[in-house]
């Protein structure tokens, strides 16, 4: 496995993870883009060494075509879901005029209850 691929995947995943953990929805969406690229690179690396164009003449030493098919499928799925995520983020902005993830009201209520009991 090539070191460059491993390092690139690592950078993409760590950057993506950092962005996904933010409260701002646009950053979350961007984070997913990076994260899925990182996952795709891991798949590519799983296919072994680079080789010739697959399935042209079937000689030895060609690249593994299966991982490329898998990456293509993964890209299509990620594309669709990212589009949905963007629509959801836009709807959230329409409703709240804010780009942040909201708190769960019921959850806050129970947390308040717990702190009040704790103090008593």
């Amino acid at each position: 496995m090539s070191l460059a691929l491993a390092v690139a995947a690592g950078i993409l995943v760590s950057g993506g993870l950092y962005l996904v953990l933010q409260r701002t929805l646009t950053r979350v969406v961007l984070g997913f883009g990076l994260l899925s690229h990182g996952a795709n690179l891991v798949l590519l690396a799983a296919g072994g060494r680079a080789g010739a164009v697959p399935l042209v003449d079937g000689r030895r030493g060609m690249a593994d075509p299966l991982v490329q098919a898998m990456i293509l499928t993964a890209i299509v799925i990620t594309f669709g879901i990212t589009a949905f995520l963007l629509a959801l983020a836009y709807r959230s902005w329409q409703l709240t005029r804010d780009d942040q993830v909201e708190d769960d009201r019921e959850d806050r209520r129970i947390a308040r209850l717990a702190t009040r009991r704790g103090r008593r």
Binding site: F32, A46, L66, T73, I77, I81, L88, R91, L95, D104
Partner: protein
């Protein structure tokens, strides 16, 4: 055999396309979805008979031989899952049609609902790790749309958490599949079951735990369950019911399938780690439920708690344990769904599911009270209802292997479940109705009550047919623990 295996996936996809084409005509859409789901249920029953009589069946879609082609396999566990899932999906569809306002959103409900069914069926039938990822994505993409169907503020807020958590888990699943492929050079489950035997033990254990974590997010296992009680209650009731009954159970199905078929050698005996996680899941889920005040939220926390029991059965890695887990999954599908449907009826009739604002429903509608009580007692594991047998089987299996602590945790969680069901019962059903509504009978749509009653009858049937169903679960567990028949059927050698 190919056709029979492909139909539960192909029919709903074709139906979804057709339903999308006639999005302007609601009667046509309803006819299509009902027809398709009835057909899927029929196919599932035929498949179960076939598998019950002659062992696992496999088919290669596209005609390529096993490790390369797209493999669909049905063994006893997947056929049983398919039957229970299709019956549930069909009943909830009838309920949704009966509830005014659920399937009107620009004709989107029916196509997406059918896609969800296709995803569930594919996830259960697939014999290929990458196809499993695709199935989970199809199922989840449909669920993202369904959970935010109304696009209200609450739904968008909780939907966002749901989508983000599940996307993160899906990305990790993809990475896990890549690592398995790098280690073995195949993604066919049967082929992997053989080849993972040659992988070094440490690497195999790491991969097994990676899959446990990734699929554990989908199954809502502690500590990865936090998204569930937040997201489920806000969706429309039929959607919550089918999610509660099916999605997490499919997650558990996948955990059991992967950990037994692929990583059996990584767990020579009971796994203390998995058992500890199971015990905490059971207790944390039920304690969370006790703190809640809204019926849907209480039930959502119970989903988590019950998942703990299934993981408990898996963690024992014994015949009795896995048989108990299989039975538990099947029983939970109908019990959980019917409880959520009853909760939907309460909300439909009174406008709220908050225990502070509903009371005395038993006086106003004894039928509704009975429909709640039966699955609630089954959930708590009161004999002779269906929930009792798998719980007994699990606890006995735990004692048989001297895993006292986790078996005791199971019993304690059962007691607390009974307590929290009593809380709903005394809060919403007992007592006097609010003065304004006293003496007034509840207005409940006949179709919704009928669909709920059918599912409640199914929970009773599970209790009555406990013996044959347990025997089937035991045979399914035996197949899971010794997957030779499965491997031979898929690989042809």
């Amino acid at each position: 055999m190919n056709a029979l295996l492909a139909l539960p996936v192909g029919l709903p996809v074709a139906g979804a396309a057709l339903a999308l084409l006639c999005r302007r005509s609601r009667p046509a859409q309803r006819a299509i979805s009902t027809g398709v789901l009835v057909a899927v249920t029929g196919v599932a029953l035929v498949l179960l008979r076939e598998v019950e009589a002659s062992g696992p069946v496999a088919g290669q879609i596209g005609g390529l031989a096993a490790p390369l082609g797209i493999t669909l396999v049905a063994d006893l566990f997947s056929a049983l899952m398919l039957v229970f899932a299709s019956v549930t999906v069909l009943t909830v569809l009838v309920y949704a049609v009966g509830q005014r306002g659920t399937d009107v959103h620009r004709g989107v409900f029916h196509p997406v609902y059918l896609l969800l069914t296709a995803g569930v069926c594919l996830a259960v039938l697939t014999g290929d790790l990458f196809n499993l990822f695709v199935a989970v994505e199809v199922m989840l993409a449909a669920s993202y749309v369904l959970i935010t169907l109304g696009a209200t503020r609450e739904q968008v807020r909780s939907g966002m958490t749901y989508v983000v958590v599940n996307l993160l888990a899906s990305t990790l699943l993809l990475v896990a599949i890549g690592l398995v492929y790098a280690a073995t050079g195949t993604v066919n489950l049967a082929d992997l079951s053989v080849k993972l035997g040659d992988v070094p033990g440490g690497l195999r254990l790491a991969l097994a735990l990676l899959f446990f974590v990734v699929l554990g997010v989908k199954a809502a296992i502690f500590p990865l369950f936090f998204w569930l009680p937040d997201a489920y209650p806000t969706a429309p009731t039929p959607v919550t019911a089918v999610f509660a009954g099916l999605l997490t159970k499919v997650g558990v199905y996948l955990v059991i399938r992967v950990e037994t078929l692929l990583f059996r050698p990584a767990f020579p005996g009971p796994s203390t780690l998995i058992l500890a996680v199971a015990a905490i899941t059971m207790l944390v889920g039920v304690l969370g439920a006790i703190a809640q005040n809204d019926i849907k939220r209480i039930l959502s926390f119970h989903i988590v708690s019950q998942i703990g029991y299934m993981v408990f059965g898996l963690g024992l890695f014994s015949l009795a344990g896995i048989a108990g887990a299989v039975f538990f999954v099947l029983n939970q599908i109908v019990v959980k769904t019917s409880l959520f449907l009853v909760c939907g009826l309460v909300e439909h009739a009174t406008g709220t599911g908050s225990l502070a604002r509903v009371s005395g429903l038993a006086r106003r509608s004894p039928l509704l009270a009975a429909l709640f009580l039966l699955p609630a007692l089954s959930l708590a594991g009161v004999p002779p209802l269906g929930g009792f047998v798998p719980k007994l089987a699990l606890v006995e299996a735990g004692f048989a292997l001297d895993r006292w602590a986790v078996a005791a945790a199971g019993l304690l969680a059962g007691l607390l479940t009974l307590f929290s069901m009593t809380k709903i019962w005394t809060g919403a059903f007992w007592g006097n109705p609010e003065p304004a509504a006293a003496g007034e009978r509840l207005q409940l749509p006949g179709i919704m009550v009928g669909a709920t009653a059918v599912l409640v009858a199914a929970t009773l049937a599970v209790g009555v047919a406990a013996r044959p169903l347990y025997d089937l679960s035991e045979r399914a567990a035996a197949e899971l623990l010794r997957p030779d028949g499965y491997v031979v059927e898929v690989l042809g050698r």
